[in-house]
Amino acid sequence: MARLSQLVPSSGHEPPILVDDPFSEAVLSSPFEFQHALREAGPVVYLSSHNVYAMGRFEEVRAALVNWQGFESGNGVGLFNPRHETPYRRPPSAILELDPPIHDAPRHALEQALGPRMLTGFRDGWARTAEIMVEELLNREVIDAVADLAEAFPLKVFPEAMGIPEEGRENLLLYSDHNFNSFGPNNALVENGRAAFTKLVGWMGQQGSRESLRPDGLGARIWAKTDEGDLTAAQAAGVIRSLLIAGLDTTVHALGAIIDAFLSAPRQWELLRAEPTRARVAFDEAVRWASPVQTFFRTATRDIGVAGTKIPEGEKILMFLGAANRDPRRWDNPDQFDLNRDPSGHVGFGMGIHRCVGQHVARLEAEVVLHELARRVARIEPSGEPKPHLNNTLRGWKTLPVRLIPA
């Protein structure tokens, strides 16, 4: 499938050309062959399908993510390049697509509001929610690990923790899915999602206002920063919407990935059950192994050399987090989900100044679910053909039928 073009020879300064479309259905539903070709083609590759540069090796991806001075986010972290095309079809996000200096204040406010010690108050309630959910799931013959678990749990706890009104919470999945699609090209995924998305734009615009938020939630905590003068009202409302968009689908696909990971390596479930404190490692290893966020773009702020290849100023570069997280140059047996490995340093949450600011939220959600599953479930067995969920940025499952065997 993956082919190197024979037309353009790769000299020291011209990157090798890869003709495959990473946003095609074939690659999105099973990206590993493409990722392998990408890594092997070179440290920097040109994707002729979309006229962008790309990186798939761990070392270069990590270095580029950290180098915000050379690879900016402010020109958009999607394929669309406002330097070459007008108009900009998405308003820039309140944090993700900002560079310093205007990235600093919202970033610091979120780091403080979502730091591990700020979340301890949620743990008991979330653990109780997980207990009730697993209890209910154990009464069933077969469950869909996506709808019944990976979606159900974050939908119960995350909008509640944010403190948004109950009405419309179910819109978040659809809204966010389209948002992540729109970082890619205008393909069928984007076209098909547009109509439903457009209907929700007004609803999303109303989220984040101070009056609409419960006073004890994370949203109110972010608004409190405006009282101290650390954030403007517009920034507070904006970052709250960013959290709503970035915080649900990502976690859903990460929870799905955890189940998928244990299906791929049943021995690992025994390890977790014997030592439930491994839940945190299990989560990060699953994020490495599956990379629920597969890709993000950056733009070169100047002509910039990467491993001998020149990336010209103003060009987009596609960072393959998923490919980097399975680069054999960095990871032994990268395709293996392995609780004995130290997954720290993976780029599944990004790296550098944009590194996922919500990761402690996702980690706590995963941890309480895994603890409860490890306590109650002896084995997880496949029970039918899983179907992939296609998205231009995210990787996950649409359905994942499994049987939970009680302990």
Partner: protein, 315 residues
């Protein structure tokens, strides 16, 4: 920003004003240095055994170097003297940080007030304010022009920068400067204690968080909230320490063998910041704002104590 330790190499050392040297520091391996934002400082562990804090005053778009400026202080305990007289290009120094207790937050306009070497953290703030296209003014005073660093760098900003030598021109009228501020303005001040204290008075009626200041000497300490011993519980190990009124919590923690990194031991640098799980600290640091104090989420055990009988901390 991390609180790690690393060695930096002195790449340049240059006299930029009377009694002020500018140092350019790089990683000896030629790699990126940790990210920072305006208001950040690093600790330097000087080989004469002292640790000192210096504000980063360079350009964060250059990830390969840090810049600091150091005033030779005749009454110093030897930190600035060591840097001025002994430290040479090519030498290695141990660094801690960077840390930031003096962040630039959004504002409709900024008033920057610098006294002497207090200009250092404000330099990158000015560049940021300019990039964000926010109106700003800098009032920069020093004893005499010849000892005021970076006047040349500030020249390009024209009349946004007001420079004044105290010996010949007298002090700024800070009261007038504050009363002329428009709504939504923020005031940033770094300079001698007398300057900060005066500004604090003038800013009384401004909204919460409108005045941000960084001191280079610790606040004069008032007497502690309690004069009797108290208990500090280390939550992770379950150890309970009894701290006598004359002892610092930091000392008690270190004696008990718990790992905790400290640096200035004056409540200035923030290195020993520790999470408070329950109990009420007697905050005696020069870092936290009043709102942060009231929240009691963390404290600095090098100088702060307990106001309640027991403090439970995350160590």
């Amino acid at each position: 920003m991390n609180g790690g330790r690393a060695a930096l190499c002195v790449e340049q050392k240059e006299l930029v004003a009377e009694g002020v040297v500018r140092l350019r520091l790089v990683d000896p391996r030629g790699v990126r240095l940790p990210d920072w934002a305006p208001g950040a400082h690093i600790d330097l562990n000087l080989s004469n055994g002292l640790t000192r804090q210096y504000s980063l005053c360079g350009n964060r778009w250059d990830a390969m170097s840090y810049e600091i400026a150091v005033l030779l202080e005749p009454n110093s305990r030897g930190g600035s003297e060591f840097i001025h007289r002994q430290l040479q290009v090519g030498d290695l120094v141990q660094m801690g940080g960077p840390r930031n207790n003096f962040r630039l937050v959004p504002a409709d306009s900024y008033l920057f007030v610098a006294g002497g070497i207090g200009i250092t953290p404000l330099l990158p703030m000015i560049e940021h304010a300019a990039k964000m296209e926010a109106p700003w003014t800098l009032l920069y005073s020093g004893r005499q022009l010849s000892s005021m660093a970076f006047i040349d760098r500030l020249q390009s900003y024209g009349d946004r920068v007001v420079i004044r030598s105290r010996d010949t021109q007298g002090r700024f009228d800070l009261g007038a400067a504050v009363s002329n501020l428009r709504q939504g303005a923020k005031v940033y001040c770094c300079g001698p204690t007398s300057m900060i204290d005066a500004l604090e008075q003038f800013c009384r009626s401004l909204p919460t968080g409108a005045l941000r200041r960084e001191r280079f000497t610790a606040k004069v300490q008032t007497s502690p909230a309690r004069s009797t011993a108290y208990e500090v519980e280390l939550a992770r190990s379950g150890k309970v320490l009894t701290v006598e009124p004359g002892e610092s919590v930091l000392n008690a923690i270190l004696k008990a063998g718990a790992p905790l990194l400290a640096s200035c031991r004056e409540g200035l640098c923030g290195t020993c910041e520790t999470t408070v799980l329950s109990g009420v600290p007697d905050h005696r640091d020069s870092i936290l704002s009043d709102t942060e104090r009231e929240r009691n989420l963390s404290f600095y055990p090098c100088v702060s104590r307990a106001a309640s009988d027991r403090l439970v901390i995350d160590l």
